[in-house]
Amino acid sequence: MAPTGRSDGLVRLENVGLRYGHGPEILKDVSFRMEAGSFRFLTGPSGAGKTSLLRLLFLALKPTRGMIRLFGEDVAAFDRARLPLLRRRIGVVFQEFRLLDHLTTYDNVALPLRVAGKRESRYRDDVMDLLSWVGLTEQAQAYPPVLSGGEKQRAAIARAVIGKPELLLADEPTGNVDPALARRLLHLFVELNRLGTTVLIATHDHKLVQQAKAPVLHLERGELRAR
């Protein structure tokens, strides 16, 4: 594990701007810092730039200006060959789930461990435990097209946390589940955070924010406002 710069925290953004092609700036002068082990929500209306900010953080996009430092290193200086190793330290829950339809729920959840070269016999119990935790034991051998929206969301969350990431980024992770399950999932995020994972959750769900009592980063028209 690379040492985290003391002054940078785990995540640090300085005057980050982002635009797609020649379009308007989606993110403007975004600056914030997250210490290792912290828990934050990212809120804001639809189109405020929450998903784009998360995409910058899981290295699917490059900023058009400004500086992003992850795990104490400037992402602009990352060699492409090192990206996979960095991504294994980040767990991501996508808003649109992005499960692979040709793999079972079990294989989808196990995917990050499989691509990291781990043997199935070594991760089988961990995956089944996690599936049980998110209430998907019965669906372990089912394929995503037959899962409900809530089940897909839980499978996506399980896939994001199975590798015990140092940083967890979640885009509307409770958007498709009932309040009881939303609380259960929040509990899972809090547990992970307690074990040392830094968590950033983008959400519209005010109740979820109130329950967690965690600091909020609020995005409005691409600009960050502290709350």
């Binding site: 996979p84 294994r88 992005r98 793999l103 995917l111 499989r114």
Partner: protein, 300 residues
Amino acid sequence: MKGHRPGPVIPARAGSLRSLTVTMAVMCYLACLAIGALILINRAIESWTGGLAREVTVQVRQLRDADIQAELEKAEQLLQSFPGVAGTAILDRDAGAKLLEPWLGNRNLDDLPVPRLIRVTVNTEAPPDYTSLAAALESEVKGASLDTHRRWQAELTRMARALSLLSYAVLFLICVSAIAIVIFATRTVLDANRPVVDVLHLVGAKDGYISRQIDGRFLKTGLWAGLIGVMLGLITFLLLGLTGPEGAGGVADASRSLLFSAPEIAIWSYSVLLMVPIAATLISLITSRVTLIRMLKDVR
């Protein structure tokens, strides 16, 4: 969950390689035909060069004031005493007439001054000095001339070498086309699986891992296509071998000699033909791997 076998990371259905298998099999079949042609041409060159180098011919023309039989004997004596000559045989008048049959038909040639021929076997290790032999014959035997077949040999060899070069060019073009279609198929497979590849990247898969998931299928495709191509090639040579009677020469005999020659020669022919599936597999595997790694580098 015990004994669970994880499904393939890249779905087999998206971006099927069936049309690539068919095209590669056709390429391999054409390669087999080109290789077969090369083997036959090389054998023909060897046999022509060997046969023509072992023998020369002395022709004695009938001159008005000469006794041709006496001149023939004089020529034979001269030849037998010349260093480098291993043996001589005077062809009788009928044998000479027979050689003219294709041009003159089997008419009675008694009235025509048909030249007589002496077949001369030479010592291939220490061949005679043809220039002095020709000079000696011309000065001592009336109407004699020496034919070393060199002009024929040179022309036949030149033609065979041209055909041989053409076969190499065909093989080269087949390789280039095979590489091009594998590149095209690799792009198609990667494009068809782009969403899967994106997810694999985002969960931390390395380019090498992703390309290994895909190029295993190209390895199988190359091997299958190569084996199908070779089988079709062998069936073609077998069918060509059945098209004419034994000893009739031409394509039928040549095809038979390719398949059923002496074991030491047949092993060599079959080994060269079996190089086709090996080459197809390597071309398929290496080209797809290089293309995948290059394409994946453009994906963040």
